[in-house]
Symmetry: C2
Subunit: 340 residues, 2 copies
DNA sequence: CTGAAAGCGCTTACAG
DNA sequence: CTGAAAGCGCTTACAG
């Protein structure tokens, strides 16, 4: 039904090799010949068959994005940025949700490789990524990690300036007179450790001593999804901290924990910011709809996604094959609203 | 580098045709022969090359999802449901954002077809979809529309029970004593018309007369994206209605308009629900984070997505090729919180 | 600068 | 039940 390169060649009176060469700009072709081909192409309304080309070139033009939890808006926005940047290079993105399950993550990676993806972007569920070494050994597929730093596997990474972001937020809280700031993280991974480091730095710079009891780290084994978070671990952590009656401000480590913690404040009717200041890492749309609206350290998930696309494309097209692994940090910034 | 069907055939001592047949279960093969092939497959750790198979079969195993506005959480959730259901059949989804631009929509459809998608799911920007007739005439690609009904093109559709949902919401408001309910829609498309119909039905059933001034329909030409909506058209419409001083309740037609309208209420400090009841079509996460939390008519975007996947898969696999176009309605339900 | 030809790895009539 | 062979539509050494 659809016209092939042969028919173009015939109509143009040249060989298929020549048609291919003008189509792909892969060899010098005499202008007259080129013109003949081009008119034939437009006369027949020829479109290259990407299935044949992909097969021939051994590429699929799809990048797999393996996401720890797709119900998290943060990753949805990463996906959007990734999609946009890769589509510029003619790539599609295959999204795979892991629902915070390592087993699903491994299965997803396996399936993607079996379906011949050209590259992998991974927001890993747990940090241990040794399994990748094994699975990838027969595949020449570049990998970029986003948001969380893996161990057991080295590759390019795109991360937020976690340390600096938390530092900025805590510093601001301190500047507002808060000396006892609760830090709530529902997880305890490399990312959270960096953010806690920012907390410590701000304290140190202000000459304050950190009370370790105010840092509530979570458990990585707990599966959390944004939809069931109103009374999750962050809720409990906020409750504990506030019932202890010491902290005057709460800083939550990501959007997931902000939901649980803020929901607690709301339920027990603690006036923000009068009785309790509140700030979170990760900006979300809903933070500007609450009363008062909530200040946040904003990440740029869209940028994280698009930069990841960039990096993986460079690897695929071998522009940087010899370069060592890169870590790109995407800036964060303070968005002040009325909760502090 | 990777092992091919030939090598499997050689090791098993059979022809490639036979290997193919046991792999695909496409012909009866003697059990002994089958066993030989299977041991060879596992010995060589053979995996079929999907690029070759797709090329041969003329399919890409990807479905394009053309989305009017991917910054809208509603569509993100549709995408997630679609992804999940299609992945069960070995399909990937190629997401394409149109940013509410018809021109981009057309370009996206074109690009997807050029990259050989096997099917198209479309949440159209504008309702006029005549362009599809033309573009699709050389392609045997099934289409499913979601959320909005197109004209100028007929295909399967998956929509919410818009009429019934709005009816439920308005009926509840009326039951609470409201007789002057403002209906704010930022758009004026088939979907909104259905929701307005539900509004009228509830009024009629209650023996109330509809005041047309309370129905503020929007303009389809205005591009709106969730991120810039705090002071958009719904904000203005809410302002107008409330300054006129008649309505005692506000019902917004979708999540986008709820943002603008609620933000107005918030800015001018109108107590909800005491001075003004509030309810919206489209549930969103943030509706449970406001004070008071906001009641909504909940759609099920995830289900809309997964059902769309179902329908398009049936069309692709020709299970229903002779059937006329289907319209599937996904139920909505009332989620009561504290804004009414 | 151009073309004839091999070949990528499958599937699928067709013959036996 | 099994196999030999054609062919899907490209790209790419290779020869001239």
């Amino acid at each position: 039904m659809s016209v092939s390169i042969k028919e173009v060649a015939k109509l143009a009176g040249v060989s298929v090799a020549t048609v291919s060469n003008v189509l792909n700009n892969t060899k010098n072709v005499r202008p007259e010949t080129k013109a003949k081909v081009e008119t034939a192409v437009s006369q027949l309304n020829y479109q290259i068959n990407p299935l044949a080309r992909n097969f021939r070139k051994g590429q699929s033009k799809v990048i797999g994005f393996v996401v720890s939890d797709l119900s998290n808006y943060f990753f949805q926005n990463v996906a959007i940025g990734l999609e946009r940047s890769l589509s510029e290079y003619g790539y599609h993105v295959a999204l795979m949700d892991c629902k915070e399950s390592k087993a699903l993550e491994i299965e997803n990676v396996r399936n993607l490789l079996a379906s011949s993806v050209d590259g992998l972007v991974i927001a890993t569920t747990g940090e241990d990524c040794c399994y990748l070494q094994l699975i990838l050994e027969n595949h020449d597929v570049p990998v970029v990690f986003v948001d969380r730093k893996p161990f057991g596997f080295t590759s390019d990474m795109v991360l937020s300036t976690n340390n600096e972001g938390a530092y900025l937020g805590i510093k601001y809280l301190i500047s507002k007179g808060h000396e006892k700031i609760g830090f709530i993280t529902s997880r305890n991974d490399s990312t959270m450790k960096e953010r806690i480091e920012g907390y410590r730095q701000a304290y140190q710079e202000a000459g304050l001593k950190v009370n370790e009891n105010y840092i509530m780290t979570g458990n990585n084994d707990i599966s959390i999804s944004q939809n069931q978070l109103l009374h999750g671990i962050a809720y409990t952590q906020a409750k504990q901290l506030i019932e202890a009656g010491e902290v005057t401000a709460l800083f939550t480590g990501n959007n997931l924990s902000s939901i649980g913690a803020y929901n607690y404040l709301r339920e027990v009717n603690i006036p923000v910011p009068d009785k309790m200041a509140f700030m979170t890492f990760d900006d979300s749309f809903w933070l500007s709809m609450t009363t008062p609206s909530i200040s946040a350290v904003r990440q740029d998930p869209d940028m994280i996604g698009s930069v990841s696309g960039q990096l993986i494309y460079e690897r695929i097209s071998n522009k940087v094959s010899e370069q060592p692994n890169r870590i790109v940090r995407i800036p964060t910034r303070l968005v002040l609203r009325y909760s502090v």
